[in-house]
C-alpha cells in the first residue's frame, strides 16, 4: 500500500453500518492492494466562493493557466484506427487535429493554417493530406508543408519553418491525451497511480460501445462534481437506495490528479434498514443499468445468500461468458460496486470487467455557464474475435433527455435526474447571497480536492 494512507484522514466521522473495507473483509478471493487503499488526507472545511463556477474571471484564469498545462483526454485510439484518421479536439478557444500518423504513432497539430489562419480541418475524418479549404495550402499528415497554389507569390515563405506546430501526445488505456505545455511532466507521472489501479482492466482492448453527448447549462465543474459524491443519491436518486450503500461510500485522493469514490452496491442504503435481500437483488437488476442483465425475471434469491453475493456471482458468470475467459480472480466488489476514478481535471473512468462508464466534461467553447457532457461505455468482446468498431457519437440536442439515448440503457434516466440539478445549481449559485458553497467534510472531499488542485495550477 502507498505511503499516503498513513497521513491524517479527513475528519473522524463516518456513517454507521458496514464500511467498504468491512465488505472487503467478507471477500473469499484475495483482495488486490488497490482496493485496500483508504486515503483521504485532511484538506480543511472552508467554504468555497461561487466565483469558481460562475465568474468570467475565473474562467479566464482557467483558460490561461489550467487548460494550457494539463494532460487532457481527447478521444479513443479506436476512434482513429487508420493512418490519416483524425479527431478534431476543441478546448475553450483552442483546436487540435489529433492524427494517426503510423500504426503506433499519433501526432497532434494546432488546427490553424499557416497561411491565413483558417482551421485546417472542420471535423473528424480521414485525410491523405491536410488541404486548407480556403486557398489550398497543403501539409502531409506528418505536418510537413507540401505547398500552396501560386507559389510564385510566396517566395518570402521559403526561409520560414512551415511545419504545422505540434503539441504533446501520449496514450493510456486506449485513450489519447494531449498537453499544450512543452515542459509538462510525463503522462505516466501525471496519471500515477491510475495505471496500477487499472492493471486488472485492460481498457486499451475494450471497445467503445456507446458515446453520447449533450450540452448542459452549467459550468464544466458543476457537471463533473455531480458524479464525484454519492451523498446526493438519497435525494436525487432515491429509487436506487434499496441496492446502494450511498452513505457507506469510501472517498480517496491520490496525489494531485487522481481521486476515487467507491460506493458499495448490492447492499441497501444505511438510510433504509428495512429492505430485504430479495428487494435489493430485484431492484439492482432492474434499475442499475450496470449489471450483466437488466431483467430480474427468473431470478430468485437462493436461501442463505446475500443479494451482494448473488449479483456478483451472476455478473461473474455472465461477464466470463461474454469475454470468453474465466473471472476467477475478480472480487465481488469489482464485479458490482461503483468504483469511479477521476483524472484531473475533467475525465472520470469506472473500473469493471464490462460496461465501464467514462465521463468527460468540457467547457462549451468559451462559455463558462455551459459545458459539454459526454458519456462513453467501454465494452469487452469475446476473446479471439475481432474487436467491434467503436460507436459513433450520438449528439443529443439540448432539449433532449438522456433517456432518449437507448444505447446507455438504465443510465439515461439516472442522468436525467442528475441533469435536473446541474443547470439548477448554476442558476442558484448565480442567485446566491451567501456567495459560497459549503462541503461535507468527507463525502464531498473529492470536490475540495479538485479545487485545491485547480488552485495549484492557477497559482503556479
Amino acid at each position: 500500500m502507498s505511503e499516503l494512507i498513513k497521513v491524517k484522514q479527513q475528519g473522524e466521522a463516518r456513517c454507521e453500518g458496514l464500511s467498504y473495507q468491512d465488505l472487503l473483509d467478507n471477500e473469499t478471493i484475495e483482495v488486490p492492494a488497490y482496493l485496500r487503499e483508504d486515503t483521504n488526507p485532511y484538506m480543511g472545511d472552508e467554504d468555497l466562493s461561487v466565483d469558481r463556477w460562475i465568474s468570467r474571471d475565473f474562467h479566464e484564469l482557467e483558460k490561461q493557466k489550467l487548460w494550457p498545462k494539463v494532460w487532457q483526454m481527447t478521444c479513443r485510439e479506436e476512434d482513429i484506427p487508420e493512418v490519416g484518421d483524425h479527431h478534431v479536439y476543441e478546448i475553450v478557444d483552442q483546436s487540435i487535429i489529433v492524427t494517426r500518423t503510423g500504426e503506433n504513432e499519433i501526432k497532434a497539430f494546432i488546427n490553424s493554417c499557416l497561411h491565413r489562419g483558417r482551421i485546417l480541418r472542420d471535423c473528424d475524418g480521414h485525410a491523405e493530406e491536410f488541404v486548407c479549404p480556403f486557398h489550398g495550402a497543403t501539409w502531409d499528415i506528418n505536418g510537413n508543408f507540401k505547398g500552396i497554389p501560386c507559389k510564385w507569390d510566396f517566395s518570402h515563405l521559403d526561409q520560414k519553418d512551415m511545419s504545422l506546430p505540434q503539441v504533446k501526445v501520449d496514450t493510456w488505456g486506449g485513450f489519447v491525451f494531449i498537453n499544450f505545455d512543452e515542459n509538462c511532466q510525463s503522462l505516466e507521472d501525471y496519471l500515477n497511480p491510475l495505471p496500477e489501479h487499472f492493471s486488472r482492466f485492460p481498457l486499451h482492448d475494450y471497445y467503445k460501445g456507446a458515446h453520447v453527448q449533450r450540452v448542459v447549462q452549467c459550468n464544466w465543474k458543476v457537471g463533473a462534481e455531480a458524479f464525484m459524491e454519492s451523498f446526493h443519491t438519497l435525494e436525487t436518486h432515491s429509487e436506487i437506495l434499496t441496492f446502494t450503500g450511498d452513505a457507506n461510500s469510501q472517498y480517496d485522493t491520490f496525489g494531485d490528479h487522481v481521486s476515487r469514490s467507491v460506493t458499495p452496491m448490492g447492499v441497501a442504503s444505511p438510510h433504509m434498514p428495512e429492505v430485504t435481500e430479495e428487494e435489493t437483488m430485484r431492484d439492482i437488476l432492474e434499475l442499475s443499468g450496470r449489471m450483466a442483465t437488466d431483467n430480474a425475471e427468473g431470478h430468485a434469491m437462493p436461501e442463505g445468500l446475500t443479494a451482494r453475493s448473488y449479483i456478483a456471482e451472476t455478473n461473474r458468470e455472465m461477464f466470463s461468458e461474454l469475454i470468453g475467459e474465466p473471472l476467477d480472480q475478480a472480487t465481488q466488489s469489482e464485479l458490482e460496486d461503483a468504483i469511479l476514478y477521476m483524472l484531473f481535471p475533467n475525465t472520470q473512468v469506472w473500473i469493471g470487467y464490462n460496461g465501464n462508464i467514462v465521463y468527460r466534461f468540457l467547457p462549451n467553447g468559451d462559455d463558462h455557464n455551459s459545458c459539454i457532457f459526454e458519456t462513453m461505455i467501454l465494452m469487452r468482446y469475446p476473446k479471439g474475435t475481432q474487436k467491434p468498431e467503436p460507436a459513433e457519437k450520438n449528439i443529443l440536442r439540448p432539449d433532449q433527455a438522456f433517456s432518449e439515448a437507448p444505447e446507455i440503457g438504465g443510465l439515461g434516466p439516472v442522468f436525467d435526474q442528475d441533469d435536473s440539478n446541474m443547470a439548477a445549481v448554476q442558476k442558484g449559485m448565480i442567485a446566491s447571497r451567501k456567495g459560497a458553497v459549503s462541503l461535507a467534510s468527507y463525502q464531498e472531499s473529492r470536490i475540495r480536492h479538485l479545487h485545491q488542485t485547480i488552485d495549484k495550477y492557477l497559482n503556479a
Partner: protein, 104 residues
Amino acid sequence: MAITDTLIPAVDISDKQTVPVTLNGKNILICKANGEFYAVDNQCTHQRAELTGGRIRNCYLACPLHGVRFDLRTGQPLGELTRVPLKTYDVSLADNGNLQLELD
C-alpha cells in the same frame, strides 16, 4: 420512377468500397457500408469534388478533398463545410445478382 440496372454484380463490391457508375448521364457512387449498399451523387456538396475513394466508416463517407462526412443513409453532412445533403438513391438487388438503382 425508373429502375436502372447497374451491371455491377453485388458480390464484386466489398465492404467500405466505393464504385462510380454513370447512369442516364449522372455520376453516381455506389458504396457498401456495414454490409449494406448505398448510392449517392458522386459530387461533394461543398466544392463538387468527386467522392470516389472516400473513406467509409460506419455509415459515413468522407470526401477525399476536405473531409466532409456524409451519412450514406440520408445524405446529410456532418460539420460546418456544407449544410447541403447529398442526393441518395434506393438500391436493390436484381434477379441476376446485379445491383439496380431507382432514378427519378
